[in-house]
């Protein structure tokens, strides 16, 4: 699979003029429907008045249980339906040795999951849940149903100084038909999933949104964190457009949540040996 992607990317680079040197979305994701890179590159999406792809609509991720764990995981009470593939390329995260020890602890203590206490998920975690995009030339607003989370992707300006946030700070730009979003200012409290996959405040996420047909958008994110990972990790999944009559509805979270602290020991854990490292 990898050599094919590389050769497709190389062909694209060689064949296209500089302004159109756009990396196509990958041929497929570990989970969900496959995307044909040739068709994806040939797709000419509807454009907004300022000439960029029109991403507006309600999008439903096909993230294969990523909210439970972004890595392959079995089915279970706290693990949803399970996923044989997960959404991370290669099926594992490049943890540094100390971090590989820590994740073993965290997966045995899923009651520590901050989203169980109604904290913001962070990026990319929030993207595993349905959202609606409202697009203007300088700002693209992404409003999620889950946790009534939202973020504004600014198409100008720079990341602020001395600011850390659960959802980070998002600055976007267009590379051909792909919206590329640079997410910095992430705090060290958000996590990638309920299983506890984690990062530090050095996390830097680069997201790529590409329409591949009228009702499908490819979502990819590169996760870079020199304090936790030995090298960047990559994840991705497709998003499907919701039917026209769909509306997002309010999801309040902090309505007197009292259950999580009472989870019996052992319920909220992943099995031993779940992680290769």
């Amino acid at each position: 699979m990898r050599p094919l992607i590389l050769s497709v990317a190389m062909t694209a680079v060689l064949a296209l003029p500089l302004a159109a040197q756009v990396r196509p979305p990958d041929a497929g994701f570990p989970s969900g429907p496959k995307i044909d890179p040739a068709k994806a590159r040939a797709y000419n999406p509807p454009k907004t008045a300022d000439g960029h792809p029109d991403l507006e609509g309600i999008w439903q991720p096909r993230s294969g249980g990523a909210a439970y764990s972004i890595l392959p995981h079995p089915a279970g009470f706290f693990l949803g339906a399970g996923s044989e593939s997960g959404i991370v390329e290669g099926g594992e995260l490049p943890y540094q040795p100390w971090a590989a020890e820590r994740i073993k602890y965290l997966t045995q203590h899923m009651e520590l999951d901050p989203t169980g206490h109604c904290h913001y998920e962070g990026i990319p975690h929030a993207m595993y849940f349905a959202f609606q995009i409202f697009q203007t030339p300088k700002q693209i607003a992404v409003l999620h149903e889950n946790m009534h989370a939202y973020r504004i992707i600014y198409m100008d300006g720079t990341h602020p100084k001395d600011y850390l946030a659960w959802m980070g700070d998002s600055r976007g730009h267009w590379e051909g038909n792909t919206l590329v979003v640079d997410v910095a200012n992430n705090n060290d409290k958000s996590v990638f999933d309920m299983a506890g996959h984690f990062h530090s405040d050095a996390l830097h996420v680069v997201e790529r949104f590409t329409l591949v047909d009228a009702d499908t958008m490819s979502y990819e994110a590169t996760l870079e964190d020199p304090k936790v990972f030995t090298k960047p990790a990559k994840l991705g999944f497709p998003l499907k457009r919701a039917p026209k009559d769909y509306e997002l509805i309010e999801s309040g979270c902090f309505e007197g949540e009292r259950d999580q602290a009472h989870l019996p020991e052992g319920v909220a854990t992943l099995p031993e040996g779940h992680y290769k490292k």
């Binding site: 206490h117 109604c118 409003l143 602020p160 946030a165 959802m167 509805i249 309040g252």
Partner: protein
């Protein structure tokens, strides 16, 4: 003389109507970052007509017996109209058929459609169900399906689940929106009553909303059982 001043008035109104900046679909452009600058979040009577709320006696009695802790202290969303006069900025974004409100406070949000539909059935929401439409240059939002737990302010002015709020947003100057809301609740008030206040644009260049998280460090230990019980000694 009378005719002349009427003429001036007419000209001024026409000029104002023409000068309201409009979005591509011809609606008044309400976009930007706005904030109320008052203390209504602490006591809503500040912006109430006559500074009074026409309570029914039984509602006052219910209020006296009700909870004494402001729900927002537990990070509940503040409800409508309270979210509008919380002392935090909010951003309005308009797209054809939509007016989107993104509040800095507790990252609350309202996606308001301006195409008519019936209110939702059988569900209540912290920020209610909002259905919008334009009346001339005024954005009118009809809000029902509100939860009975929210308060109108920290002063414990309350309402029931029968609350029905009609909000009106009118841009009256480049940096001002006039906000009015009619508050109706036959289980709590003897008649509908009104609040009104200006919303001021934040004109500071480069101003952006920041994240405001409420459940952070809130609560857990104070109002819940310990996160992980300490070992018994």
């Amino acid at each position: 003389m009378r005719n002349r001043s009427a003429g001036f008035f007419f000209a001024a109104v026409t000029l104002l109507a023409q000068s309201v900046p409009r979005t591509s679909d011809g609606k008044p452009d309400l976009q930007g970052i706005w904030m109320s600058r008052n203390a209504a979040g602490f006591d809503v009577t500040e912006i109430a007509e006559g500074h009074e709320i026409p309570y029914l006696p039984e509602a006052l009695e219910r209020e006296q017996k009700g909870p004494r802790v402001d729900p927002i202290a537990h990070c509940a969303m503040p409800g409508v109209p309270r979210i509008t006069y919380m002392p935090f900025p909010f951003q309005i974004l308009q797209r054809p058929g939509y007016v989107v409100f993104m509040y800095e406070y507790m990252h609350d949000q309202r996606i308001v459609r301006t195409t008519p539909r019936d209110h939702l059935d059988g569900i209540d929401l912290w920020l209610g169900d909002s259905v919008g439409h334009w009346e001339g240059d005024t954005l009118v939002i009809d809000v029902t399906n509100l939860r009975p737990e929210t308060w109108l302010d920290s002063a414990r002015h309350t309402h029931s689940e029968a609350l029905h709020v009609v909000e009106r947003y009118t841009r009256t100057a480049p940096d001002t929106i006039n906000y009015e809301a009619t508050i109706e609740d036959p289980k709590t008030y003897s008649k509908p009553w009104k609040i009104s206040m200006p919303l001021h644009r934040i004109t500071e260049p480069g101003f952006e909303l920041r994240e405001q998280e409420c459940s952070e460090g809130d609560n857990g230990r104070a109002i819940h059982p310990p996160y992980r019980p300490a070992p018994k000694s």
